[in-house]
C-alpha cells in the first residue's frame, strides 16, 4: 500500500500528512510538484499550506502544476485523492470538486479544534466512520469560506455530496456549514480541517477525558487503506 503525499513550494503539512499515513500502516511516497510521475501510488494526499504563496488565488497555481494534472487524470479514473485545507483549495481550483473558497467571513485567520459531523461514509476516505459521527480535528485557515452558486449547492445537498459539516461553530462563514465535500464517485474528498493533526494520542486535540488525546483524524487514513484493499 503506497500513498503519495504531494509537496508544492509553500506546502506546510506534508510531513504531518506523511506521518499520519505511516501511523496508519501505509508506505509514504513523496510526490514533487514538478514531477508528473505518480510512482504507481494507490492514493494521494494533497496537504495543507500556502502553495505558491497563495498567489493569484489559493490553490490556483498548484492546480496547474505537472503533478496536479497527473492527479486530476488519475482521479477521474478512480484514484483516491484527499485534499486537506490548501489541498481542498487545489481540488476546487482543479474542478475535481465544485464551488470556491474565499476569505473567512470575520476576516481573521482561525485556529481551533473544530467539531464536525461526518455526513457521508460512502467514500474512500470516510468509510471507517459511522454516519453522523461527531469528530473533532484541528482547523487552521484564513480562506476557508465555502461558496457555490444556488444550483450547485442544491445539487451537493440533493446528491449527498457534503462529506463534513461544521458543528456548533461555523468558523469561516461557509455556506450550509460545509466543511468538506466528496465527488460523485466517492474517491475524491476535500475538507478545510486537518485530520493529519489528530492521529496520535499526545499530539491531537483535547478530548473530554484527556488533553491532546484526540485521534479522530486517523480514521481518514484507515478508510483509504480499507478502500484500496477492497478495491
Amino acid at each position: 500500500m503506497k500513498i503519495g503525499v504531494v509537496t508544492f513550494p509553500g506546502t506546510l503539512d506534508d510531513r504531518d500528512a506523511a506521518r499520519a499515513v505511516r501511523l496508519a500502516g501505509a508506505e509514504v511516497v513523496p510526490l514533487w510538484h514538478a514531477d508528473a510521475n505518480l510512482h504507481k501510488v494507490d492514493a494521494v494526499v494533497l496537504p495543507g499550506g500556502f502553495s505558491y504563496g497563495d498567489y493569484l488565488r489559493c490553490g490556483a497555481i498548484a492546480a496547474q502544476a505537472p503533478v496536479t494534472q497527473a492527479i486530476v487524470k488519475a482521479a477521474e479514473g478512480g484514484l483516491p485523492v484527499l485534499g486537506i485545507c490548501n489541498g481542498f483549495q487545489v481540488l476546487v481550483e482543479s474542478h475535481l470538486l465544485p464551488g470556491g473558497l474565499i476569505r473567512n467571513e470575520n476576516q481573521h485567520f482561525i485556529c481551533r479544534d473544530q467539531k464536525l459531523r461526518v455526513e457521508n461514509v460512502d467514500t474512500a476516505w470516510t468509510n471507517a466512520f459511522e454516519l453522523n459521527q461527531e469528530i473533532t480535528i484541528p482547523l487552521k485557515n484564513g480562506e476557508g469560506g465555502y461558496i457555490a452558486d444556488a444550483e450547485t449547492l442544491k445539487r451537493l445537498e440533493g446528491e449527498g455530496l457534503v462529506a463534513f459539516r461544521y458543528l456548533e461553530v461555523n468558523p469561516n462563514g461557509s455556506m450550509n456549514d460545509i466543511a468538506g465535500l466528496r465527488n460523485e464517485r466517492g474517491n475524491v474528498v476535500g475538507l478545510m480541517p486537518h485530520p493529519e493533526h489528530a492521529v496520535e494520542a499526545g499530539f491531537g486535540p483535547d478530548t473530554f477525558g484527556t488533553m491532546r488525546s484526540g485521534v479522530d483524524g486517523a480514521k481518514f487514513f484507515e478508510s483509504v487503506i480499507k478502500a484500496v484493499v477492497n478495491a
Binding site: L56, A60, G100, Q107, I147, D149
Partner: protein, 82 residues
C-alpha cells in the same frame, strides 16, 4: 511596451472582506461620505509587439480559465494599453 490589461473583481453579491476592512479604516480617518469600497485585481500582460486579435482572444481565454475563478470573481474588463 504594449500590454493587455485584465481587470478582475470579486462577484458583486459576495462579501469582499478586503474592501470592507479598507472602508472601515477610511471611515476611521474621517471619510464618512464613502459608502463602499471593493478591491479587485489588475493584471498586466506585457508583449513585445502590439497585441493581435489572436493575442486578445488568448488573453480572454486565460482570463477566464486561470486568472479568474468564475465561482467567486468576474472579469470586468480586458483592454490594450501602450
Amino acid at each position: 511596451m504594449p500590454k493587455i490589461i485584465v481587470e478582475i473583481m470579486p462577484k458583486a453579491d459576495l462579501l469582499d472582506p478586503q474592501g470592507k476592512a479598507v472602508l472601515n479604516a477610511l471611515h476611521r480617518q474621517g471619510y464618512g461620505k464613502i459608502q463602499n469600497v471593493r478591491i479587485g485585481k489588475r493584471i498586466e500582460i506585457h508583449l513585445n509587439d502590439a497585441p493581435s486579435a489572436e493575442d486578445l482572444e488568448g488573453a480572454r481565454e486565460i482570463a477566464d480559465s486561470f486568472l479568474s475563478n468564475g465561482v467567486i470573481e468576474d472579469v470586468v474588463n480586458i483592454h490594450v494599453e501602450d
